[in-house]
């Protein structure tokens, strides 16, 4: 196990992400943050807090459960189980700039599922992808718009993102 | 065919003559010639060391489905099953299609039985024409043709007046018995299993034990009045046997039988909706089993009868509600009685021989059930300790609706000798 990002580094990355988002959007845009369950949800909340402060207004923030849209849902999965939880988006996403937030961008399959799930909820103006860690190994033509940290990794390695809210401490580790 | 048959060194049990010893049995011209130490030569000798030599077993309650449902069983297939199970005599129930309710039908059953040359095939006629519970059948003509008794088995005669009339009328004939499948339909309703907690959780209509007990009580009152010889078929509940015990204490001419499933299985077995456990009267509770075993120990039960009721796989592969009642168990019945009664030492071998041969013969008034000198040589030779696994695929019966499939049981039939002829041998004939 190797620690890729410490707690401080993570905070720096999130702040950098927020700055990037602010620099690329206009004050008149309707912006909303939506995190992909489950680590993306935590990240989205933190990002929304920072952005709200920077922009001086409370940004709407929601959570998207993508289980029903996964492309491996009907493949034999051995003993791993997909848990369906609720999508909690308490605002209309029509004509909004959606910042879709996930902890790690790897194959791109979760992002694909999230985009499909999002489209069933309404018609956003644009969807931007923000991730804490981006690693190589894309299986679909998907790229992030805002990236906290980039790394080249062989396929047999796994990245795990831990947050205080869900795991007791902030860190990104390599297994 | 050997004229003389000598069975050497078996444990010979003949309750009628109070015999239970290691000795020989000599059969000459189809009759028992001698029981004891026999030195003389014979055409054929069976070495019965370690085996039990019993008077031929009698099952007074089987369904051979002929005429009408030959796909399920025929008199030929049922008879083959009977001798494989050690039975030298069986009594066919008349609930065939059409029912056995006249002399011609009785003669037909007899003829098919003779032609098969396996077990003795007896038959009971119906009490009422067409088994409808209304008009009396020609019991006299049927008795003349050789019917050993009368029953509307499959259901009981519901109407009290009709049953009273049947008892009164039948009482003028000698050597016949009125048998009843005791179940009051107004209480049993559309039930398919014992009424109790299991029927509640399975969501199936239940048959209240009272349905059986009410009719037994009712019929006993009629016996009190008519003094007709009366037999209760497949007793299944503790209170039923209590009623019969009292009737016997009052010296009424009442006898009864118990089926193996009512000694070994309970309504817990219905929990998986396995229709092989659907039987009528239904499987009851452990308490009922205890009461029946106690009654057998005390000699209150006169006969063990399999109620062999064959059904096709396709008929049993239905919802529990829709499948027909019945268990096919003729071929392993003896082993089931051993498991239920001998192994837990409820009774000993002479007592078992008595309620599987001597007493059933008395109920149907046939001169059988003993190894007495000069009697027809119906003999069953078994290895009581041989253990085997029940395999329905090896049954001679056409039907395999047997919940005991896969059970490990003791008691192997070595020879079934009917009228001096070996009609079944474990080695093959």
């Amino acid at each position: 196990m190797e620690v890729l990002l410490s707690s401080d580094k993570i905070a720096d990355c999130i702040t950098a992400l927020a700055d990037e988002i602010v620099s690329q959007t206009s004050r008149t845009d309707k912006i909303a943050i939506i995190g992909i369950r489950s680590r993306g949800e935590v990240l989205a909340k933190r990002l929304a807090d920072i952005l709200s402060k920077k922009l001086g207004e409370k940004l709407p923030c929601g959570t998207l459960d993508i289980t029903l849209y996964r492309d491996d849902i009907n493949n034999p999965q051995g003993r791993t189980q997909h848990i369906v939880r609720s999508t909690e988006i308490g605002f209309n996403i029509d004509d909004t700039i959606i910042i879709l937030v996930d902890d790690v961008l790897y194959t791109g399959r979760s992002t694909r599922a999230a985009m499909d799930a999002l489209m069933d909820l309404g018609r956003p103006k644009t969807v931007k992808l923000a991730v804490l860690v981006e690693r190589t190994g894309r299986e679909l033509p998907i790229a992030s718009d805002f990236t906290g940290y980039k790394i080249d990794l062989p396929a047999d390695k796994t990245i795990q993102v831990n947050f205080i809210e869900s795991d007791g401490k902030d860190r990104v580790i390599l297994i | 065919m050997a004229k003389n048959l000598l069975i050497k060194n078996g444990r010979v049990i003949d309750p009628v003559n109070s015999i239970d010893k290691k000795c020989d049995v000599l059969i000459v011209d189809g009759k028992i010639a001698e029981v004891g130490k026999i030195e003389s030569k014979a055409d054929m000798v069976i070495d019965a060391v370690g085996k039990l030599v019993l008077p031929g077993l009698i099952d007074i309650h089987v369904h051979f489905r002929e005429p009408g449902d030959e796909e399920e069983e025929t008199i030929a297939s049922g008879s083959a099953a009977a001798v494989a199970g050690g039975f030298t005599s069986v009594v066919c129930m008349p609930n065939t299609d059409p029912p056995i309710d006249d002399a011609t039908s009785v003669e037909y059953i007899h003829r098919m039985g003779r032609q098969t040359r396996k077990t003795h095939v007896y038959v009971m006629g119906t009490i009422t024409k067409g088994r409808t519970g209304e008009q009396l059948s020609e019991m006299g003509f049927m008795a003349q043709a050789g019917a050993v008794g009368f029953t509307d088995d499959g259901s009981g005669v519901q109407n009290v007046a009709t049953m009273q009339r049947a008892m009164k009328y039948a009482s003028m004939f000698k050597n016949i018995v009125l048998s009843q499948h005791c179940q009051d339909n107004s209480l049993a309703g559309s039930g398919v299993m014992n009424a109790g907690f299991n029927s509640t959780t399975l969501g199936l209509p239940g048959i209240d034990p009272l349905a059986e007990e009410m009719m037994i009580w009712r019929d006993i009152q009629l016996v009190r009045k008519t003094n007709m010889r009366y037999h209760v078929q497949h007793v299944s509940t503790a209170k039923s046997i209590e009623l019969i015990r009292h009737a016997k204490k009052d010296c009424l001419p009442v006898t009864c039988e118990v089926a193996p499933h009512h000694l070994l299985l309970t309504d817990d077995h219905c929990r998986d909706y396995d229709t092989n456990y659907k039987v009528n009267p239904p499987l009851r509770t452990a308490k009922d089993i205890e009461a029946l075993k106690q009654a057998i120990r005390e000699g209150v039960v006169d006969a063990l009868a399999s109620d062999h009721a064959p059904h096709l796989k396709s008929e049993k592969e239905l919802e529990f509600l829709a499948a027909p009642f019945g268990i096919a168990s003729l071929e392993c019945a003896l082993s089931l009685y051993i498991k239920a009664l001998i192994e837990p030492k409820i009774i000993d071998w002479p007592q078992l021989a008595s309620i599987m041969s001597e007493k059933p013969a008395k109920i149907i008034s046939v001169d059988k059930g003993t190894l007495g000198k000069g009697k027809q040589a119906d003999v069953t030779i078994i290895d009581p300790d041989f253990e085997y696994t029940v395999d329905v695929e090896r049954f001679h019966s056409k039907s395999k609706n047997c919940p005991y499939n896969g059970w490990k049981l003791k008691g192997k039939v070595e020879y079934t000798i009917v009228g001096g002829e070996i009609r079944y041998s474990a080695q093959g004939i």
């Binding site: 459960d65 369906v84 309404g122 | 509600l321």
Partner: protein, 315 residues
């Protein structure tokens, strides 16, 4: 998050009697994730795309069948409707024949409603597809009980310690049986109310209280579930008249006055207005009858999803 340890591995939903508290709660938790599909602009998810669900209904039921159909449709499954009002006979096509025929067409999930208790279990033993019980005889109606408990949980937060009365024909009610299993497993106290002629054999062995007086219990219960009087299922008349039944066991405005202010009034539908429940009560502020219907959809989507998942994992 540690809840993920639990694995759902049943490819059939036959009844709630055999389910653990954990399994029941897992279904209810899962159902929550399906609730918003019905409220958003595109009321469909691709989850069961390419799967075939058969509604095999041998008994009349518009509501349950529609609810299952809609649930399957919302998950993008194809649905075959098979309705037959024929009960099995010894000759002719049997339930097994029918099921095998459907299976030969390549189906994935069978939703079965049948008048014989045990028919779904029988089916599950004999075919490879997932089997979901939509009501069998008077054995079980698991999805109804799941939506009942879901509705109660959603409003009351939990069933722990609640007193719930189930009123009516308990003997012939599959809803009552499934409710008893689900509600008691989730910690509620269940009181069965009805005339003795409509109580099943040895009801005392169930983990419930029995009362023959609705007036005696109306004041103490948090939830009251009024069963439909099913005239067709009762056979010989177990009570002298509807009027007398309503007098003793009907939920009237007068009786409601004695009830707790926040009592939930439930009914599995379709209601017999004026028989087991007065219109004013059925349509009143304490009634959650329509919420039950809405929640039924989420629960049935969850069940279809879960059995399919288990079947996938077992392949």
């Amino acid at each position: 998050m540690s809840k993920n340890e639990f694995i759902w591995n049943r490819k059939h939903l036959i009844g709630l009697r055999e389910l653990s508290r954990e399994e029941i709660e897992f279904i209810l938790d899962t159902a929550k994730g399906f609730e918003n599909i019905s409220t958003r602009s595109i009321k469909k998810a691709p989850t069961l795309r390419g799967k075939v669900v058969v509604n095999l209904f041998f008994e009349d039921s518009t509501r349950t069948r529609n609810s299952f159909t809609l649930a399957a449709n919302r998950l993008s499954a194809d649905v075959i409707e098979f309705t037959e009002k024929v009960s099995s006979t010894r000759k002719g096509e049997t339930l097994l024949d029918t099921a095998k025929n459907l299976e030969a067409m390549g189906i994935d999930i069978v939703v079965i409603r049948h008048s014989a208790g045990g028919a779904p279990k029988f089916l599950s033993r004999n075919i490879n597809a997932c089997v979901v019980n939509a009501g069998d005889g008077y054995c079980e109606h698991p999805t109804q009980a799941l939506l009942d408990t879901y509705t109660i949980r959603k409003i009351k937060g939990s069933l722990e310690g609640l007193k719930i009365a189930i009123v009516g024909d308990i003997a012939h009610s599959r809803v009552a049986r499934s409710d008893i299993y689900a509600m008691t497993k989730l910690g509620a106290k269940v009181i069965l109310v009805g005339p003795p002629t409509l109580m099943p054999s040895q009801v005392s062995q169930l983990p419930v209280q029995v009362s023959y007086s609705l007036d005696a219990v109306i004041g103490e219960v948090d939830v009251i579930n009024m069963l439909r009087i099913q005239f067709e299922r009762m056979g010989a008349n177990p009570f002298p008249s509807i009027k007398e039944y309503s007098h003793y066991f009907g939920l009237t405005v007068e009786r409601m006055a004695k009830a707790k202010k926040d009592i939930l009034v439930m009914h599995p539908g379709p209601i017999n207005r004026g028989v087991e429940i007065e219109s004013e009560v059925a349509d009143g502020p304490n009634s959650v009858i329509l919420e039950q219907v809405t929640n039924g959809l989420a629960v049935r989507m969850a069940v279809l999803f879960l059995v399919n998942q288990a079947a996938m994992a077992k392949e």
